[in-house]
Symmetry: D2
Amino acid sequence: MLDMQETAEPGSLATLTQRLVATRAHSLDLTAPLTPEDMVVQPMEDASPTKWHLAHVTWFFETFVLAKYLPGYRVFDETFNYCFNSYYETQGPRQPRPKRGVLSRPSTDRVLAYRAHVDDGLKALCACLGEQAAVVAPLLEVGINHEQQHQELLLTDVLALLAANPLRPAYSSAPLGAQADTALTADWVAFDGGIHRVGHGGSGFAWDNETPCHDALVHPFQLADRLVTKAEWLAFMADGAYDAPLLWLSDGWATVVREGWRAPLYWEEKDGVWLTMSLQGLNPVDPRAPVTHVSYYEADAFARWAGARLPTEFEWEVAAASQETGQPGGQAVSQAPRLRQLFGHAWQWTQSAYLPYPGYRPPAGALGEYNGKFMVSQQVLRGSSFATPEGHSRATYRNFFYPHQRWQFTGVRLAREI
Amino acid sequence: MLDMQETAEPGSLATLTQRLVATRAHSLDLTAPLTPEDMVVQPMEDASPTKWHLAHVTWFFETFVLAKYLPGYRVFDETFNYCFNSYYETQGPRQPRPKRGVLSRPSTDRVLAYRAHVDDGLKALCACLGEQAAVVAPLLEVGINHEQQHQELLLTDVLALLAANPLRPAYSSAPLGAQADTALTADWVAFDGGIHRVGHGGSGFAWDNETPCHDALVHPFQLADRLVTKAEWLAFMADGAYDAPLLWLSDGWATVVREGWRAPLYWEEKDGVWLTMSLQGLNPVDPRAPVTHVSYYEADAFARWAGARLPTEFEWEVAAASQETGQPGGQAVSQAPRLRQLFGHAWQWTQSAYLPYPGYRPPAGALGEYNGKFMVSQQVLRGSSFATPEGHSRATYRNFFYPHQRWQFTGVRLAREI
Amino acid sequence: MLDMQETAEPGSLATLTQRLVATRAHSLDLTAPLTPEDMVVQPMEDASPTKWHLAHVTWFFETFVLAKYLPGYRVFDETFNYCFNSYYETQGPRQPRPKRGVLSRPSTDRVLAYRAHVDDGLKALCACLGEQAAVVAPLLEVGINHEQQHQELLLTDVLALLAANPLRPAYSSAPLGAQADTALTADWVAFDGGIHRVGHGGSGFAWDNETPCHDALVHPFQLADRLVTKAEWLAFMADGAYDAPLLWLSDGWATVVREGWRAPLYWEEKDGVWLTMSLQGLNPVDPRAPVTHVSYYEADAFARWAGARLPTEFEWEVAAASQETGQPGGQAVSQAPRLRQLFGHAWQWTQSAYLPYPGYRPPAGALGEYNGKFMVSQQVLRGSSFATPEGHSRATYRNFFYPHQRWQFTGVRLAREI
Amino acid sequence: MLDMQETAEPGSLATLTQRLVATRAHSLDLTAPLTPEDMVVQPMEDASPTKWHLAHVTWFFETFVLAKYLPGYRVFDETFNYCFNSYYETQGPRQPRPKRGVLSRPSTDRVLAYRAHVDDGLKALCACLGEQAAVVAPLLEVGINHEQQHQELLLTDVLALLAANPLRPAYSSAPLGAQADTALTADWVAFDGGIHRVGHGGSGFAWDNETPCHDALVHPFQLADRLVTKAEWLAFMADGAYDAPLLWLSDGWATVVREGWRAPLYWEEKDGVWLTMSLQGLNPVDPRAPVTHVSYYEADAFARWAGARLPTEFEWEVAAASQETGQPGGQAVSQAPRLRQLFGHAWQWTQSAYLPYPGYRPPAGALGEYNGKFMVSQQVLRGSSFATPEGHSRATYRNFFYPHQRWQFTGVRLAREI
């Protein structure tokens, strides 16, 4: 029985194994610039240590795949279930999330040995799947996608770590971040209303929260063809937005006051110049790059200030789908400017709350806790960021965070009524 | 220009004045069982003192109506703007909400004098409206509805006060509360899907958050014909629900653990018997009465336990509208059991987040802060409670609270897919 | 057996009864300017409502005297033990201190009836003491002194209430507060060192924490002949003291930063003028009056700024005793300027921690909780304030508060080495 | 000018240099069992990472010695002042204490290079002291003693780290901890009262808070000849002490309830057996070993339960001095049992608050912040623990912690009146 939505296609097992190996290797690649000390520290409650990410995704494969489906599999270390279970109540008690950073032991070396042990198990499993393939392949796909999510989180949390360090060290000298767009001003792209199919219904992997595919009524709308830039955000700040309560949701304003917010996260002013901390270290704000590290409250206030609003998640999906197909699925006039920066730059806040789709059923078993139990008080984000692994983005993807959170690579695309 | 959605009908001015006078008087009637000491205490941050409610609604009329439209009106006391402004940033700084209970002064007597002063002003204004009627009448309507909301809050907060008192005093010996239903088991009523008009579009008053009237796509669904009872809640408790993390949303379970919830608010066990504190004092649980004082988290967990879910706000509205018209607006088969307890018992949590309708615009001016700035992180409740004043309920009404809040008269109606 | 240190002198019973009646009446006199609403509100966790004070001191007499020694005494209301027990673990559970302000019931009227009931009991008891006198008289004395303490707290807490009110109402137009001294500059009075008897050893009432009387070695010292004035405090502020971490104890500076302290409690700046809220309302600072409402942290920082220090409690006691006797008990040269403002102006912080005297034993029984269990983390204050009732001051009296607290009538007298 | 109390003896420079080198080397020795990851983690706010300790003591030498007295000294890294300043306001802003654990950079390697750089500087300085010796030697002595303090803290904080780890790893297999005493029952040793010289007055190093040496009046007392054992603590627990409010100071009981204390820190019950986490890992309680990791509140409650009390700091000092000299300085009868476990087992809570001695003056300059600014709300501990470096103990030594703290190696010695 499939836990997540996946069609096991014939002949894809080799590909799956290949992707599995590549995904596992990529996680380690990401840690290359880090010291063992970088990998153990938890810079804030929301963020997890690199080492924890590496171990947790491994525990996930061990617990939900190997322990169940690889005959004779030996659990690497019984104590790891406590250490590296994230939030699965079915799997028993666990290290409290705000205390993940005290786990100096098991050491990085031992976690790497854990990874190797589980990798061996996965390879052995893939080599002898046989009839189990229909059951196991989807779980492996879940595990791959799960590890990809943690690859993005790993970078997100590394930035939180480096930004919390008074030395403001860089993770890399390569240009890692949302890339600048060439257009000084954004254009509006119009989409017709109507009943559209939304959610995941085709082949390929999707999370349970993207299902079921269903009809949704969307009213005519316009989307900006690119993300809000840092130059635009500087104008918002210069206009006194962080001192103007009427621009904000009530909870947002209370947060601005309580937290003393004056700019996006990781921005700091030095001698009158705004700098931002990124994976490349502390550098002057690039005015043409998309703003990132803004909360929903800020995204919403910006939209209000700009005389616009945030898109709903279905507006975003319909518009993105129309671009993918090249067809006017969203009835975008084919000559109209195309939407840019949909994927690979920054997650885009929507005004939709993260709620179950009509008829949604969480998967049976432990993976039923994966997405469903978070469906309250959070907002949906669409698209993907530069930190999202290759192949992990799609138009139906639903990311979700609390409205005050801004340590993710979150940005803003504006919408408005026609 | 209308601040809220209201059609000023010809000849209705006398009626309006009459309703105004009656509403103002009713607020005082509600305080009859209370001592001056009861009226000043703030039992919890969410709740406000009775005296504050009495003064705030008066300040609302003074500030938004009399000061603007009654020539020569003299503000009763300039210091009251600070004391009794609730959350209007346009009206300047104000007594912090958690500190409303320190306002032993102005005294109750002075607040009563304030009310009389403003009542006089309102009568004078109504007597000479003339051409202003088109502008002022809708504002008076807003003020009436605003005061009605506070009449419910007043009772809600009085219960919080009396329940916090170790003597568990009663407000009244009259049966004030959600009334028992005769049916031991609930029946399901089915409704067809389709595109429905939702939101307020007709005549009569509505809040801005009920607009604009628009099309919504509703999928086929069923609603329980009555509210969840206390007997059913006792079964939920007896089944270990407050110890079963898998029944709960993640935030909900964290709240259960942190707050030590074992039952709805105001329930206490004594010698093995469950009692509930209500406006009639502390009494044994009435198994046939609707459960009240449950949070969204609890409502959601109950629904999951029951193999059902909470309705969306549009399902609720479509179903309620079909009952009102007597027509199968929701395509309820006319012979099917009717929905009971829609209004006048308990507010009903929906699984819809409180968000703006498509094309929503907050009113211009200060009243733009009334509803719009709260549109994040809260859930919509539909219907009305026994404490909702006569004439204040309708099918399109949107109440909203945070998912953890349970000091309101909140209950549960189940829904499910067909 | 005596619970507190008291010598029952022959023939003093009539006097005791008279004092008892007068003390009980005085508590009510203090409430004359207050409304029932004033009397129920708790403005901060440390402060208690007036009504609670009135009831608690009554409960004290009922519980520790009448219930034990008046034959046939009927407890007024069994529920009051929960409501009005302050902190006596032996007397069972109680209303949590921070929630005393939710007790709108029992009403003020009922509390007044409670007082009358207990007063009747006390009179009946005094009328028939007989052989019990040796046991009961000391308890009555404790009750009188306990009520006197609460008379001061009542005024202290009323000021906290009125100061928390945006209307800044006055309690009285009479000059209630620490009175100005005529001397612009303070003089130093020198005292010789040596072994001195300290603590209470004579006749008359004293609290257990003043005993046993014992020898203490005091080194030569000087005391300022008057309290620090508000003019001096303004100079301290003008010198940037609230921005100068090196002046402060580490805990003190952390408190200054966290709480944003810029001046003593109840001071506010308006158009460049410093005002203070007092029982007479909000008035310009009187430069010649003793500063009050300062924490130990502030007193200590002020002393450091002034090149002095705070006195130890024994220095203070030795000096005060020398003034009382007119003899150079502390070897004060008889021609030297006398110490002024020892009593009746403001409690004076000492650098002594509140600890048990050598050989201290708390009284047996419930009253053993009265003083002893607070002997950690607090500082001793000596003297008395303008709010201390007549007859409640003496040189051996030990008051105590936490170093951050400043809602009491606390002031500063400087000391230094010779 | 001497910052701390130190007599520079002729010919001692070589010894000083030797001790300096040995002390610096010992710090590194202590880290041998630790991984780089162990060394970066901050397990709780009170504790600091190992790496931070290593760097901070180095910064101390660099800032207060090398930068001032070694000509041409080059500061290793200007950013380290921010990272490794502990609490010196004179040295500018610093990494907040609760955030020391986010400093994954500078890396351990770089900190080790920092140590080598400063060690080189110190050697160069010692080689050419000349006339500066009178000034510099005392500062080097301060630096040595400062580093010794951090050696103890390093072990204390390592235990906190390992105890916070669900794997409960051991630091060492060697018997590191307070050692068992052979006597099943403690004996009382009596000391006469009288005026004694207390505080540091002789040669050798002492902290400023041990001065000035002065007369103190001590009343006759008795001390237990050994520390309270874990067997005795188990009896205290078995007698319900953690459920008996009357045994506790009021603040202590509030802490017991709030924190859920049932036993000393690091104790855990497993299958009915009490285990303690120590540097040797998790092992069954050794009944004969001194109890450690108890707060002042617990020490005080234990003493009350045992019908005794805690000693004052002067009682402890007088008694210890009498043992050192072999003379009955405290008039201990020479035949009486000697006091055991004074040093090298566990710090011993006293009932004395940490306050300045009569005539105390903090050192001039930055080191004036070393001890003086903490003189409020803390209790003095005397003796030393097994983790205290060789040569760092003496009878006049004053350690100090807040009454709720128990992550230090703190134990209990009883006292009582004669």
